[in-house]
Amino acid sequence: MVDFHGWDMPINYGSQIEEHHAVRQGCGIFDVSHMTILDFEGSESELFIRKLIANDVRKLSENYSGLYSAMLNDKGYVIDDLIAYRMDKGFRLVVNCATRGEDLRWISARAKEYDVNMLEREDLSMVAIQGPQSPNVLKNFPAPIDFLKEKKRQQGIFQDDIFAAKTGYTGELGFEVILPNEKAIDLWNIAISEGAKPIGLAARDTLRLEAGMNLYGFEMDETISPFECNMGWTVCWQDDQRDFFGKESLIKQKESNDLKELVGIITEEKAILRQGQKIHLEEENHARGVVTSGTYSPSLKKPIALARLPKSESTFCFAEIRGKRVKAKIGSPKFIKEGKLIFKEKV
């Protein structure tokens, strides 16, 4: 167990590699109750959320659907990444635990000018159920989670105090359930009895990295543009009448030529890519890139990493590992989806 921003959380329950495979091949269950759940209600809640985040919740045509977004500061850098769901009376944001304090300060200060109420839902727990077998483990749960089978990715349901949506942080089929604390233990026990394996923080990290999903504080922070952490696609420009925090700065960023990009790298060498290692392009002497997150991929049985590099034509790079230069292929910042290799090498 470790202290994770005030929460006691398990790094692993047994072997982190076995936990990883359990999610890719069967079903894993994650206690993610540390995540901060914020509900927004009020006549101007939509107006406010459209201003607050860079993606546009206007796209959510159905209740309980969610979208991934960045929340930007005035410089157009990332304060946090989050999922925003449309609810019956407003919106629900699920934001990171590590950034909770800063998020609450930022949001509260800006909500004052709107008819909107923010409520932090400490009465709710959050459980993620992920993997190809995930639809099968809650057959006996006394809730309508079965209905989720009919839903597409990012869509959800809400009934009897139980909210569930087809979202996740692993690249696998699965869903996340937000429910009253007192019901969470039942859900956990039923899922386990149906074959779900408990998954700790360590496997959560290898799974999200293979899926090419960002981790706040690693891929991005308050000094990083969404364009430099593969979040450009989450910024919505459709409605040019819409203003959002950071918009003006983003327009300027787009015009500049020195933006770096987040790429995926893979090495065949026996040395693990890890956060902070310097990256050289070609045979250059000065390092111009850095590993943002690196690990050993249990699925590919090779070291993989996300790295921020200057844009270039290079198809490979060199990571500095313990004084040696280790060659790595450059490609898409995604490696695995639904158990299959999706990494595209640059050519």
Binding site: I11, N12, S15, Q16, I17, A202, T206, K270, A271, I272, R274, T295, Y296, P298, R322
Partner: protein
């Protein structure tokens, strides 16, 4: 007092054992493999390398972290456990037996007695 087959430790979590005359087998402790978690790569010294007591001798990488492995005593490498290169998980499964790293020819049996006993090592792990 016979020190044959007795396991002794460095506080940096390596063990040594005199399995045959003048030859020290070296590995990492049960506690070390538990701290590291799933081990995925190992870099071993070459046969013929001269290692120094408490000097760097090998590298072990788990998903979590990379860690140097130090030689408990001074000596020349006479054998390495090549199986670990393809199946590093052996170290997790059997750190004190099948998961040994290398064997060195030591000149001086006496120094072995200076290494930590099991009990002394256990005490350092609890601190």
């Amino acid at each position: 007092m016979s020190l044959d087959n007795e396991v002794r430790y460095l506080s940096s979590h390596e063990w040594g054992r005199i399995d045959e005359d003048g030859i020290l087998t070296v590995g990492i402790s049960e506690h070390a493999q538990d701290l590291l978690g799933d081990i995925v790569f190992v870099e071993l010294p070459d046969v013929g390398d001269m290692l120094e007591a408490e000097g760097e001798s090998a590298i072990v990488e788990s998903v979590k972290a990379a860690s140097d492995v130090y030689s408990p005593l001074t000596g020349e490498v006479v054998e390495i456990n090549e199986k670990l290169l393809d199946e590093p998980e052996i170290i997790n499964n059997s750190p004190l037996e099948d998961g040994w790293f290398f064997k060195i020819k030591i000149d001086d049996d006496l120094q072995f007695a200076d290494l930590l006993t099991q009990e002394e090592y256990n005490d350092t792990c609890e601190d």
